[in-house]
Assembly symmetry: D2
């Protein structure tokens, strides 16, 4: 069990009246407990609390007048180790995938799993099914993509990335998701905070449905899954932007952090885990 | 109020054990009441009933062994006229769109509204907002796309269609959805049956969120919105395939129909409607 | 007849041994006479003179060692007015297009005229054939594309531009070329200098084959065709880059200019021309 | 030295007056001598002989009135073995590539070598340079693409094929060309006849510039390079279609053949060749 402090601060120069949606607050899940959290808006505006999408992502909607606008969020989170015996995790046959999981097999804006199905089958069709196959996808992604800041933009899809062989964290996640879906493994995108991310920023990773639940993966190897704190969950990044701004604004400041609550602590990693990170 | 008989029959030669998902049953909504319905599977297999996605689309899952497999569905549906005073329907400002509607502003697999935003704004930015603007999108789509059977496939997106200027019903719907989203109007895909469709087949159309609810549109002009019977609702066609087949099969027979229950009847169209179909 | 001074200066920090190809020297054609020209390389390296491609574009190849590298080019050019009676210019029937012109009907890297054929025919199929039809393409392009610096990159094609509705000079030219080819009018890309371009830079425009020869067009309306000085000609921009650098370099300085030789002069425009620029 | 009979017959129902360009006649090159050839047009129409493109491809242009139209071509060709000591063939440094070869480094309609450069470098950057590196590209292509008739169409590019992992001969060639160019090796498309092709058809392959000249490669392994008879050469298939038809026609019959002139003969393969086809 890890206890983690996360937070961010964003400052905008608002140039025209702007509706803003923020998706920065950490989620409450079976493995992630929000101990405490605070949100400051300056100047103070009443924020509407929304729960958006199938996973009820926590969104704050505000309407800002021209001028400086600042949003700061901090939270303290208890994070359970999610993985215990990965070797035993199996892929669910299509006939047994729960109804609420089926949508995560469909192709989506950035994850055209239909187009990548042949590639997925030829590259990973022969792998041992289960957790190890998803790990093999992450390993392949890590080995074949270069992490290059600024190499992609908001139009870049998993298909583009498979060709151009470079991207950032969301691109790594999109490719992992697409390859899983192409093999019949439900997969989805997770936005969040991450301990030890260098340089510090929001992070994007993914999870795959194995056995009876979802398991986190990060093909970038920039952060350990034990240090990933979930904000929101969606079919891909198109569903979970950190900020959506309808109006004219300019980002003036952005700061994001995540650290163990007690600096003398170190990240608790389940004993079994070392056995599977073979790559 | 129209009373309509719909149905379909599909026959497959199943060549390997196959998991099948069917999404053929009509939906129950405020405007659409299922009076009666029946489903026959031959040979008889127990079908699992699933409710899939945000709109709880009704999916039957079966596992078929090799051999001939036949599914037949019939239903009698009461359909309320959905539109009353379209002139008064306004677009909801972004700050007031309900949380459950927000996801239908995101780009999706076939509706890259992010890529088509500039086009949507330059072509329709100056139109009067509201129902008439969505109607203008339908008119433009009808006037600029040719309906050509076989001109597109399962990879074709709204962006492709905007360039190649031809497609089938799902492509018309995808383009309409993308242009609406590009203007900030939530829009989504509807699969269904349609009266007077020639040749008879399943149909794809779309709906846009105006005022306080969703309104149907069909840019193909192949069927009147008063004769559209909803099966399923999704971000685009990727979420609502009529049949998903995991295994090796060959479609041997397909028959789809929709007609007024009493053949002496004719389709009831709200009096006001004629005023808006100006194109 | 206009007498024009053009030139440019490029300075690179060469970080690894680099082969450089420059395509900056003005072409000699029936309508464009090079009165004088000079090229300085600092440090002095022997440049190999190459004639590349079907139109024998003038390319200088040098091999630069690490350090500062500077290239400066100036020329004085006599430019004939190319257009006389545009109303009488006809499109050549396919059966009469000369062999050396046929390649300019093929699709190319940035000009996928095959994909844009339907669009071209539906939008311009009904226009009066000839010079006016190409002018109509330029007018449409000017009216429907926004000129936005930095909105496109070296991967952007005419198809992308048709959807996103913005681009820079080369994108305007690529769209014009694609639409011409889609109608059966041979068209090709021209790189060059341009008088009155603001801010001063290299320019990209296009030419179409009408009557018995090629005629220049510039859909950006940023420069008059009477002030366009040709450097190179190709199927699209992929064939005529100003600089190709095989090695690691950083551009430190770029300066480009074009002006009438005698500043008291003004640009000579053929009397007839005013009649055609109706848009 | 192989002596080969090739030929083809095409029959069209011409429905509207149609300009036709045929590019079926074998080329004369240093390694390929046309001993005899004949062309029959029925009904007899005078065919205009054109030489098109940088390699002067032999094109016949005819103008056909409505009715049946038949073209038959036969030739007897002497084919020299083109490869002698492939191990010694080196890649030309960029600074030494001849001017007339430089255009074959540019990206083209179907070969977006700019987009595939990263992939090419990461997969083949470490291979021994020269003939073996191009052979490694062919081996990779053969191993990673499935040859599936009908899996691609006239819009399919090398980039599409790299993702979907299937295609036909022209797609294999386009991918090979793109990967070569991405590594700085000039490469181009060759259309032709091929001995032992099953089923018999026209064929598409490619050649790469190594040492001091062009060498043929066929990544499909459907035919031996010693049995490839060149028709035309271009940047990709967009430049060398077998038939271009401007009008409304329907292909009624197509027959293509290529065989050793004396059936008792077998294909002469240079002794050294066996050493290199290691894959």
């Amino acid at each position: 069990m890890n206890n983690i402090d996360v937070g961010c601060e964003l400052q905008y120069e608002v140039k025209s009246p702007t509706t803003m949606l923020f998706n920065l607050s950490v989620a409450s899940t079976e493995y992630q407990t929000v101990v405490s959290e605070s949100l400051w808006l300056t100047p103070y505006i009443m924020a509407e609390q929304l729960e958006v999408g199938a996973t009820l992502n926590r969104v704050q909607r505000v309407y800002a007048e021209p001028g400086l606008f600042n949003i700061q969020y901090i939270a303290n989170v208890n994070l359970g180790a999610e993985i215990h015996c990965p070797e035993s995790l199996v892929e669910k046959p299509y006939s047994c995938i729960p109804a609420e999981v089926l949508p995560y097999l469909n192709p989506s804006r950035y994850c055209q799993s239909d187009l990548l199905g042949n590639f997925a089958m030829s590259e990973f069709g022969g792998e041992e099914h289960g957790y190890r196959r998803v790990q093999a996808i992450c390993d392949w992604t890590y080995q074949h993509l270069a992490y290059v800041s600024g190499s992609t933009d908001s139009e870049t899809t998993a298909r583009d990335v498979l060709v151009q062989r470079q991207g950032v964290c969301r691109d790594f996640a999109h490719l992992g998701i697409s390859l899983c879906r192409g093999l019949g493994i439900p997969a989805r995108y997770v936005s969040g905070y991450a301990i030890d991310l260098e340089p510090p920023d929001f992070h994007g990773f993914f999870e795959a449905y194995l056995g009876e639940r979802w398991y986190l993966f990060d093909a970038t190897r920039l952060a350990r899954v034990e240090g990933l704190i979930r904000i929101a969950t969606g079919v891909d990044a198109s569903e979970v932007p950190f900020a959506t701004l309808i109006g004219t604004t300019e980002l003036k400041l952005k700061s994001v952090w995540a650290r163990l609550s007690n600096s003398s602590q170190s990240l608790v990693v389940p004993a079994k885990e070392s056995a599977v990170s073979t790559a």
